[in-house]
Every structure is written in structure tokens, then in C-alpha cells.
């Protein structure tokens, strides 16, 4: 395709230079998937702009050519949110990786979207940190975190990305650049910032991000308690939260996950136990100590005969290494797996776990469970063998049934991974037509021509009516795949 001479290719090459425009199938294949590998689409072109101005020029060129585009950070997302679109442009933001300002007197950092999550905390250490901590934090980018409203293990206490972004410079899909929110809080007017964070790249692309950072807690205390069953561990979680304690993190692993992670992390966890509960308290020393004693007592009361308190930072890191190894470790016990991301009200956890066990038995497949127990965010890992004919489809169906169970319990189809392409089909189970239509109103306000990350989030393709400016037939419309909304 190189040098095919189309106007868009030429224009993008002029913007980023020939080195940073990828046109060969061989190069483009690098970007055919994000962290969810079962989906792959090779984009028509990929560009790697070096500055906000180059991003703006790329978006403007796409707008004029009527070609859709997808923004991508590190590509570590787990819902196919950064999956390219066929015949579209992939805008890769990894070169926008500068930290632009650190203002600790005001607890603010300003970064470009390609800066990694871990780099933000590193830049403000040792006195401050950036709380949202997805498991992929070493590689995932802040731009991606903004798109997905990323959470992590500590969000029960500290909140999500949306609670830490104070301002964004964004390029809208028509190529306009504007600042929403700012370095300061509470810009009067619609909370466009709150609408943008978590919009999965469908409203525009952020080129500059102001973040709030907070002081590192005075002390951190961590324990792991082992139980005979996830039900017992779930009761312990409820008792801890009911006592008015807000742990920094409270994570659970089931028997299958304990076995898999122990093989990888060698933390000396008792293989065969029904559940492991990792509880971390942080904060002021006096309050932390008082509550930690309470948490240990609750774990024993709820049936744990094995409570291990981390004696030093190395041991704490080992506890966390074991927890964070859960996804990769699963590869040791199963050739393939689907990760789900359902959420349930915390009090329904024990019942939902039983339901998942029943479903797994019904399908004859193994489902391992690892989850953020404080906020009821489950990550069931549905294990299967792609080499066995039909098993992948069966596993996918089971994963869908698990999400149905989460919705029946009053929960959500996704807590932190996003809808992307993977959970589009479940959106209509969670939201009614009027709800989806309201989502579309927001999307149309930002992106009336449907250029930014089309085909994501919404269950069926829809177009916007009353497109301002000259009418242009949308490619989906031309292909008879969608009608004007």
C-alpha cells in the first residue's frame, strides 16, 4: 500500500513524517489486537504522532477524508476498546510520553496520554502517589486509563481514574481542540470532563491530562487470611466493611487461583484451601493499628485458622505478586481462558459465587475466581482449550451466563475493563432503549459524524441525525449496515 498516493495517506505522512506512518500489512499487524487477543482487525493505516498538534492534524485529516479512527495507548485493554477499525486509521499515542508539569504544592501533575500509570506515581514519589492502579500499571498509559476510567485494587478506598482527572485537553473528532475542566476543580458548566472520562475513546482523544496526586499514607498493614470456602471469606469481607472499616484493598482468590498462582509465585500459600483473602489497610498509624486488630479478629471469627501478617515490605510485595500473578498464572492450568469483569452488590457475593460454580458444572468447564471483593468486582476466568472443537464457543456462552447472573443480582457487566467490542452484546440486557438513546445523544454532541472509535460501546451501530455542516454519507450507511438515528 506504500505510496498509494491517496490524499489521506499523503496528508498523514506530511504530518508525522514517513517513519511514523505505517502502511505495510506487516507493520500494521503489530496493532491488530489490544489486550483481548481473540479479536483482531488490521487497520488501513497507523500513525504515531509526536505531539498534541500532530494528533490534532491527524484527526482533522481523518475528519476531512471521512475516515474513522481509533486512538490507542499501550494496547493493554481487556475489552477490545482499542481494536482498530477496518479501513480506518489507528492513532498510536505512545510517543506523547512527556510529564509536562509536577506541582506538588497544589497536588497536580500534567502529563501527555502516553505516559504510563506507574510513571506518574514514580514522578511524584516518595511523598505523593497516584492511586488508581490497574494490574497492568507498568505498561498501561494514562490516556488509556482516561478512556476506560480504570480502577485497580485500591479503588474501593481511593476511587477510580475519574476521581483523579481534573482537566483534559481534547481533540474532538472534527479536529477542534479544547480544554475541559482544568488544573483547578469545579469549572462551572456541564461536567464534560466527567462525561469524557470512561467514554472508551468514542468522544475524542485526550492530548494533555491534569491529574490529582495525594500524599503517601503514613503506614500500610497487609495480611492474607485463608478460609475453607469463598462463602466464608465473603462473609469476612461483609463483616469488615460493616464494621465501618474502609480497607485500601481487599482481594479474594478461590482454590483454583491459589493453586495456579502458588505454582508461579511460590509464596507458600496452602494449595487446597478454599479461599485466600488479602486485606490491606493504609492511613494514619493509630487508626490503622486499631482497625488492623479488628480485621484479624473478624477473619478468625468468620472461620480462618491461618492469618498471615506481612512482616516487612518484601513479604507485602510477595502477597501482591501472588495476587497480580492471577491472570498470567492461569495459563499454567489452562491453555486458554476468558476473563470477565462483572460487578455485583457486595452482599450478594456468596450467592453469586455459588451460582457461578453451578454454571461451571453445567457447562463442564473450570471457572477460577479472583476479585476485588470490597466493591464486588468479579474476575471469573473461564478456562477452556481452543484445540477442542466447540469449547471456545461454549466458554464464551458460559462467560455470558455469568454476566447474566451478575445483572440478576443487581450488578453490572463491567467494573473496570470497559464495554469495548467484547461486551457490546450485553449492553441491551443492562440498559433499556431510552437509556441507550440518551448515551447516543451524548456521543452525537461530541462526534456527530461517528468518526471516533465507531462500533464500540453501543450494542448496534447508530448514526446521529441533524449532522451540522455538509451532509456526508456514512460508510456504514452506504453499506446498508446502519440507519440514521
Amino acid at each position: 500500500m506504500e505510496g498509494d498516493g491517496t490524499a489521506l495517506t499523503d496528508r498523514l505522512r506530511a504530518v508525522v513524517g514517513p517513519r511514523w506512518l505505517l502502511v505495510d500489512e506487516h507493520d500494521l499487524r503489530t496493532y491488530e489486537s489490544d489486550g483481548l487477543l481473540q479479536y483482531h482487525v488490521v487497520p488501513k493505516l497507523a500513525v504515531l504522532p509526536a505531539s498534541a498538534d500532530e494528533v490534532r492534524a491527524c484527526v482533522a485529516a481523518c475528519a476531512e477524508a471521512g475516515v474513522p479512527w481509533v486512538a490507542r495507548g499501550a494496547g493493554s485493554g481487556l475489552s477490545g476498546g482499542a481494536l482498530p477499525v477496518d479501513d480506518g486509521v489507528l492513532i498510536v499515542l505512545s510517543r506523547l510520553n512527556r510529564i509536562l508539569e509536577i506541582d506538588l504544592d497544589n497536588g497536580r501533575v500534567c502529563v501527555e496520554p502516553g505516559v504510563t500509570n506507574a510513571a506518574v506515581s514514580a514522578a511524584v514519589a516518595p511523598d505523593f502517589f497516584y492511586p488508581p492502579d490497574p494490574s497492568s500499571q507498568v505498561v498501561c498509559t494514562i490516556g488509556g486509563n482516561v478512556a476506560e476510567n480504570s480502577g485497580g485494587a485500591h479503588c474501593f478506598k481511593y476511587g477510580f481514574t475519574t476521581n483523579y482527572v481534573t482537566g483534559l485537553e481534547v481533540v474532538l473528532p472534527d479536529g477542534e481542540v479544547l480544554t475541559i475542566g482544568g488544573k483547578e476543580l469545579d469549572t462551572p458548566g456541564y461536567d464534560l470532563l466527567g462525561a469524557f472520562v470512561g467514554s472508551e475513546g468514542t468522544l475524542g482523544v485526550a492530548t494533555k491530562i491534569w491529574l490529582r496526586v495525594v500524599p503517601v499514607p503514613e503506614t500500610t498493614r497487609t495480611l492474607v487470611a485463608f478460609f475453607d470456602s469463598t462463602r466464608q471469606a465473603g462473609e469476612a469481607v461483609s463483616a469488615i466493611v460493616q464494621a465501618g472499616i474502609v480497607p485500601g484493598a481487599i482481594e479474594m482468590m478461590d482454590a483454583t487461583t491459589i493453586r495456579a498462582t502458588e505454582e508461579m509465585a511460590h509464596a507458600g500459600y496452602p494449595v487446597g484451601r478454599g479461599a485466600a483473602l488479602l486485606v490491606e489497610l493504609d492511613g494514619a498509624e493509630a487508626e490503622c493499628d486499631a482497625q488492623f486488630t479488628q480485621v484479624m479478629a473478624i477473619c478468625v471469627d468468620e472461620g480462618s485458622d491461618d492469618v498471615r501478617v506481612s512482616r516487612d515490605e518484601a513479604e507485602r510485595q510477595l502477597f501482591w505478586k501472588t495476587r497480580k500473578a492471577a491472570f498470567p498464572a492461569m495459563g499454567r492450568i489452562s491453555p486458554n481462558y476468558f476473563v470477565q469483569d462483572g460487578v455485583v452488590p457486595r452482599t450478594t457475593l456468596p450467592d453469586v459465587l455459588v451460582r457461578i460454580d453451578d454454571l461451571a458444572a453445567e457447562y463442564g468447564l473450570t471457572v477460577a475466581n479472583v476479585f476485588h471483593a470490597g466493591d464486588g468486582n468479579l474476575h471469573p476466568l473461564v478456562c477452556y482449550d481452543a484445540a477442542v472443537e466447540g469449547q471456545a464457543a461454549l466458554a464464551e456462552e458460559l462467560a455470558g451466563r455469568i454476566l447474566d447472573a451478575c445483572l440478576e443480582a443487581g450488578g453490572s457487566i463491567t467494573g473496570e475493563h470497559g464495554v469495548g467490542v467484547d461486551k457490546r452484546k450485553h449492553m441491551a440486557k443492562m440498559f433499556a432503549e431510552d437509556d441507550l438513546a440518551a448515551f447516543q445523544r451524548l456521543r452525537c454532541a461530541f462526534d456527530p459524524a461517528g468518526m471516533a472509535n465507531p462500533g464500540k460501546v453501543m450494542p448496534t451501530p447508530r448514526l446521529c441525525g441533524e449532522v451540522p455542516g455538509p451532509y456526508r454519507q456514512h460508510p456504514l450507511e452506504a453499506a446498508g449496515l446502519a440507519e440514521r438515528f
Binding site: L178, T179, D191, P217, A290, G376, V419, F431
Partner: protein
């Protein structure tokens, strides 16, 4: 006024059909709760129809084990807090309350000292149900505290002042009520010393529930509040720290019975004219100077940089407010109480934000039913 100028729907369905009818008839509509912030956002034209939420006043669900509640918009804020307190919980928002409703609180995104620790309305609304001008009833979010499915319309409607649609119901994240509270107070007459104390304390991992400043009559106070079983001890430690960090230049005391102190802070967010300022913590001396020139007192969520200037009444009130806003530019300011006494209570948005605001308004309320022309940028 004519007989149809107030509508009180008794259910979501009634609200939907009333709004469909009103927008079809080309009416202008103003959603209203108890009217405790009636002046905010400025006046509506005389022929505006008020849609009151007093018939939507049910606490639909309180799930103590999940720390969540689902509440209709017309529920009085104080009644909700009393209800939740029976289970040792609260909605961690503490705006000055003069009898307002939950819906009015969400629509104005008002806040109090607990904002420091728990965030604002946007951070605690986990689901929202709105009625749009075409009568559609739309819901976003859910009833779980962690959820990224679909767009977050709760944030869009928080602080929208009734200009996008009627907020009918919200799902809320709750928190445990602190077992005890205690507050450290540092007093000084020097704004720079006060700002220095704020800077020093806000860099510490105090886990305070509030960190406020008050400035009135040439005297400034830093108030740091602690909650929890060990609150008195932590306040004592913080008092020692504050004395150390400021070289004993502040008068430092600990209050165990601290409710009156915080009631005074809340009162400072109300007045004949109140200007809310969005700035940074290090701007505090400039905020104090701008207030002093207009005879206003200051209440500041000091670690957040958000401040309220309360102006005493007088024939030159509008001029004093305008002068303070001009002095604080380019920081965004909005006039809350007394909004009906100034030309435009809102700051002027950038051209890009104004255009996007217009587009959002046009998509959600294409008939221009909800308070047209009253919002930021004349939208």
C-alpha cells in the same frame, strides 16, 4: 402566573407525560425541589412552568450491607441523612442545608467540608434516572459502586442546574458515620502564614475528613477535622505538627466538641451574595485579598483550592462582586446566592467549551424546554 404554572408529578410516568406535554406545547420548564437555592443560576422568564419534585419523595432502597441507597429527587436531604444514620451511615455530602432536596443538591452540585475527603456530588452519584423533554426516561450507571458500562450521565447532570432534563432519581454511594470527630484550629492574622500552614499540612498524609480555611475580620483560621475511633488522638498529633511546621506562629488549639466550628464554616457559604471561586491551594492569599477589598468573608476547602466569598449586603453589592470577580480572573467564578442581582452569574467559557455545551444542550433538550438561555455561556 396562571393555574398551570406549577406541575407536581407523583411518579416517573407522570413526570414523563407532563414533560412530553409541556415540550409539545412549547413551554419553558424549570425543575424545582424545595427552593432552598432558588436564586442560583439566575432568574427564569415569568411564563416558565415549574416542575416540582415534592411528589417524587420516596427513599426507594437503602442497602446498608452494600453502602448504597436509591432515592427519588424530592426526598429532603435532611430526612435522607436521618434515615441513613439509623444504620450508622451517611451520604458524605454536607452542604449548608436550608431544607433542600436530594435532587436540588445533585442539580447544583453543592458541597461542604466533607468534600475534602469524600469528593463531591459527581463522585458519590453511582446511578441516575432523568426525564428528558421528549418524555423519555433514561438511566445510566447502576446501583453498584464500581461500574464502567455506558456513559456516565450522572456526572453530566450533576451541576447542570435543571437545563438538560429533570433529575428524577439517583443511586448513591454511602459511607460509615465516623465514631468520633475532633478538629485542630490554627489562628493567624497573616494570609501568607495561613497559606503556608495549608501548604505544609496538605502535603502530609493526615487522612483528615476536612481541611478548611476561614477568613473574616482580618483573622484567618485553618481547621483540620479528623473522624474515627482515634480522632481526638490524631487531632492532638496534628496540633503538635501544625505548631512545628509553622514555627509556632499560629495559635493552635484542639476542639473535641467541633460541630459549632463547622456550622460556622457552612454559614460562610451563604449570604446576600456568594461567589464560588475555582482556584488552586496556592492562590489562597489572592483569594483573601480579593474578598477583603469587597468586604467579603472567605470559606475555603483549602487543599482543593475551592473557595466561597460571602458579601454583606449594601447598595453597591453588584459592584463589589464584579470587582472581586475581575480581580480573581482568570480563575473561574460563579455567583450562587445573589445570582439574580448580577448581570451574569456564570463565567465566560472558551469558544470551544461554549460550542460543545450548546451541542450537548441541543441533543438532550432539542426543544429548548429546560431553562433555555439561563446556563453558562447563555446556553
Amino acid at each position: 402566573m396562571n393555574t398551570t404554572s406549577v406541575v407536581r408529578p407523583g411518579s416517573l410516568d407522570e413526570a414523563a407525560s407532563a414533560l412530553r406535554g409541556l415540550s409539545n406545547a412549547g413551554a419553558r420548564v424549570r425543575p424545582a425541589g424545595a427552593g432552598s437555592r432558588a436564586a442560583w443560576g439566575g432568574p427564569d422568564p415569568a411564563d416558565t412552568v415549574t416542575v416540582e419534585t415534592s411528589g417524587l419523595a420516596e427513599i426507594v432502597a437503602h442497602n446498608p450491607g452494600d453502602f448504597t441507597a436509591v432515592v427519588q429527587a424530592g426526598v429532603p436531604f435532611a430526612a435522607l441523612q436521618r434515615h441513613l444514620a439509623r444504620e450508622g451511615q451517611w451520604l458524605a455530602l454536607d452542604p449548608p442545608d436550608l431544607g433542600g432536596t436530594v435532587g436540588g443538591l445533585v442539580a447544583t452540585a453543592d458541597s461542604g467540608p466533607a468534600r475534602h475527603r469524600y469528593g463531591g456530588v459527581r463522585d458519590l452519584v453511582i446511578g441516575i434516572t432523568v426525564v428528558l423533554s421528549d418524555g423519555s426516561v433514561a438511566r445510566s450507571g447502576g446501583t453498584v459502586i464500581k461500574n464502567v458500562a455506558g456513559y456516565d450521565l450522572g456526572k453530566l447532570f450533576a451541576g447542570s442546574y435543571g437545563t438538560l432534563g429533570l433529575i428524577a432519581q439517583v443511586a448513591l454511594r454511602l459511607h460509615p458515620l465516623p465514631a468520633r470527630t475532633a478538629t485542630v484550629v490554627g489562628t493567624t492574622g497573616d494570609p501568607r502564614r495561613l497559606a503556608g500552614a495549608v501548604a505544609a499540612m496538605s502535603r502530609r498524609p493526615l487522612e483528615a475528613t476536612a481541611l478548611d480555611v476561614a477568613w473574616r475580620d482580618d483573622t484567618g483560621r485553618l481547621l483540620v477535622r479528623f473522624g474515627g475511633m482515634t480522632a481526638p488522638a490524631r487531632a492532638g498529633d496534628a496540633a503538635t505538627l501544625l505548631t512545628e511546621l509553622t514555627g509556632a506562629t499560629l495559635d493552635v488549639a484542639v476542639a473535641l466538641d467541633d460541630e459549632p466550628l463547622w456550622a460556622t464554616q457552612l454559614a460562610g457559604q451563604r449570604g446576600p451574595a456568594v461567589v464560588k471561586v475555582s482556584a488552586l491551594p496556592t492562590d489562597l492569599p489572592a483569594v483573601v485579598a480579593a474578598a477583603g477589598a469587597g468586604g467579603a468573608s472567605v470559606v475555603s476547602r483549602a487543599a482543593l483550592g475551592v473557595s466561597w466569598l460571602s458579601f454583606p449586603d449594601g447598595p453597591d453589592l453588584a459592584e463589589r462582586v464584579a470587582a472581586a470577580r475581575a480581580a480573581l480572573a482568570p480563575h473561574a467564578t460563579v455567583v450562587l446566592d445573589g445570582a439574580d442581582r448580577v448581570a451574569d452569574p456564570w463565567p465566560v467559557p472558551s469558544a470551544g467549551v461554549r460550542e460543545l455545551t450548546r451541542r450537548v444542550k441541543a441533543r438532550f433538550d432539542p426543544t429548548g424546554t429546560f431553562r433555555p438561555g439561563t446556563y453558562v455561556g447563555g446556553i
